[in-house]
Subunit: 357 residues, 2 copies
């Protein structure tokens, strides 16, 4: 069966402020030393598996030009537009409707656009195993990540028995669970039966549309209308239907309720690059245990993350601090307060200083 | 006797980097909330005592336009130019030669251009007392400052007996001593007989020229040549002679060797604004005990000194830190490391990055 990929690239990623902005969110930034952006990495790592004309990108209308610019090899008709942000269920439903229209049915790999993976070959092998599981029946497959600490910012996948006679490591999913409190997260780790939910899925288009019909029937009707509109090229109607969708995540809307889900514990150096601290995980540190980019002089400064540009940045006697300088905004944040960057964003929103968002 | 003031404004003030630059040093910066620059404050506080046409400014050729711009009320012919920086003795000698040419003799008040004084009236009263002492004989008068802590960055004045039958607080100077080590500075404070040397002097032009003749005879000959050249308006010769001077401080060249020196212990809220820490002494702190200027959002940040401009500066969980943002350079410095800002300057000099100096 034809295999296609759907890259979700509509996120507004506020945790990388001030470099990530509403007009230039994280998936379009280069946070690695190779100069490639997150979405470019996402496409590159599946190129060996999926033909370029079978890679679809779902993004906001306002990011269309960014996608065209950064992914010139992707056919423009594969850039699917969300007129408004409605979370992952409508995004995936829209893509399913498009792919159904083009190929009737296909295996559909759903990928976030702003994660990093170190071992691409192992990742692709994992996807290949997932494709086989999705192909053999109406199974839904999710790629889990072996937790390395009790993260409270991710959902978890409770897995059960191993799937017999199957290539790779494939396990039945007992259930999806929402982001836990710290104590519960610790318990999940101790139990050895929980994986992080990475937001990467593999299933047939027909399978996922069946799930919409069962668990999100109202949205399914809208998707049918979208299919009709696509047949006659009525893009205004596609947009109208999309606008009427409720905002809903695929996890809450379908995965937490569905059956016949399998998970593959991914083991390929995954990083969701969730905030500025990720920079020191995904880049080499220098002799001061710092990651420094730009025109920087550090005096007596260790364990820094400095993301500058042309402007000279001099630090004197500063440790454990994140410095991010952009043309119009500068962030200086203690490494143990990265979660409070959102307070800056809140402040900017309250004061309606949209130019900085 | 005519009283004139000589404001020394040739300094390159590196300790306020990156705001202070070789093309815009500290004396031309506004570091107070009233928007007035240091040199404007210097002129304003003596206006009641000295006519504007009797205020002279000695500065570098490259600062001439800055002086004209910031002190439009000072006659341009009162801006005396040092073709090269030669420390304070040549600077004061040059001014003495000019004033001698204009007035034959006069009381000459020598003032740095980059200090702040809180109680201007008390300061002017002190100068008035000093003028009387300088007028009555060939006395040299220096304004001392009551030390508030064992500073090792200033020279000290060892004072002796009180001068009898004299208005104000006037003491004989036993000797000038150079910048002490910390232990010695502590001893000076304990002894109660030492004042800080503020670099403010009052003397007759004839008196200081006599001192040049005695202690810096080679420089004195040069000053005589300058006088001759001034008479015929040969400014090239003035410049030539100045270039030949040895670099020498007035403290080391004359004050440490001379007799008949008196000091007045100044008590008028003096601050030499020696480094960025001064900003919190001379400005009001906010509810976070911070001094903040510019477009700033602070989250969970206390005891900060932030000197910004239009660019948004957001600090999150940062304390006791100095942040100075300018168009092309940003300094982030721990408050207890302000002395190491000079290491940044050294680094820039070694790498010949003159654009940042």
């Amino acid at each position: 069966m034809k295999v296609v990929a759907v890259i979700m690239a509509g996120g507004r990623g506020e945790r990388f402020w001030p470099k990530s902005r509403s007009n230039m969110p994280k998936q379009f930034l280069s946070l690695t030393s190779d100069g490639k952006t997150m979405i470019q990495h996402t496409v590159n790592r599946i190129k060996s598996l999926i033909a370029l004309e079978d890679i679809f990108v779902v993004t906001a209308v306002s990011y269309r030009e960014l996608v065209k610019e950064q992914l010139p090899e992707i056919p423009v008709e594969n850039i699917l537009l969300e007129p408004v942000a409605k979370n992952t269920a409508p995004c995936i439903g829209l893509a399913a409707a498009y792919i159904k229209e083009k190929y009737e049915d296909a295996i559909m790999i759903v990928l976030p656009s702003d994660h990093l993976i170190k071992y691409n070959e192992l990742f692709v092998d994992t996807l290949k195993d997932a494709i086989k599981v999705a192909e053999e029946a109406n199974n839904m497959v999710t790629i889990g990540i072996m937790p390395s600490y009790p993260e409270t910012g991710y959902g978890y996948i409770h897995f059960g028995s191993r799937k017999e006679n199957t290539q790779g490591n494939v396990y039945e999913v007992v259930n999806f669970v929402e982001k836990p409190q710290l104590e519960l997260a610790k318990e999940y780790l101790a139990l050895g039966k929980y994986l992080w939910n990475s937001g990467m899925f593999v299933w047939k288009v027909s399978t996922i549309l069946n799930q919409f019909e069962e668990f999100l029937p109202k949205m399914f009707i809208g998707l049918q209308e979208i299919s009709k509109a696509l047949k006659i090229g009525d893009m205004d109607e596609v947009e109208n239907q999309f606008r009427m969708f409720d905002a809903e995540s695929i996890d809450y809307g379908i995965m937490e309720k569905a059956k016949d889900i399998y998970t593959l514990p991914g083991n390929f150096g995954w990083d969701d690059v969730g905030n500025w601290l990720a920079i020191e995980r995904i880049n080499k540190t220098n002799e001061d245990n710092s990651v420094v980019k730009g025109n920087v002089i550090t005096i007596d400064s260790k364990d820094m993350i400095i993301e500058g540009g042309e402007k000279l940045i001099a630090t004197v006697g500063i440790n454990n601090t994140i410095v991010v300088d952009t043309g119009d905004a500068l962030l200086i944040c203690s490494k143990d307060k990265t979660q409070d960057v959102k307070k800056v964003i809140e402040n900017l929103k309250i004061c309606n200083r949209r130019e900085y968002l």
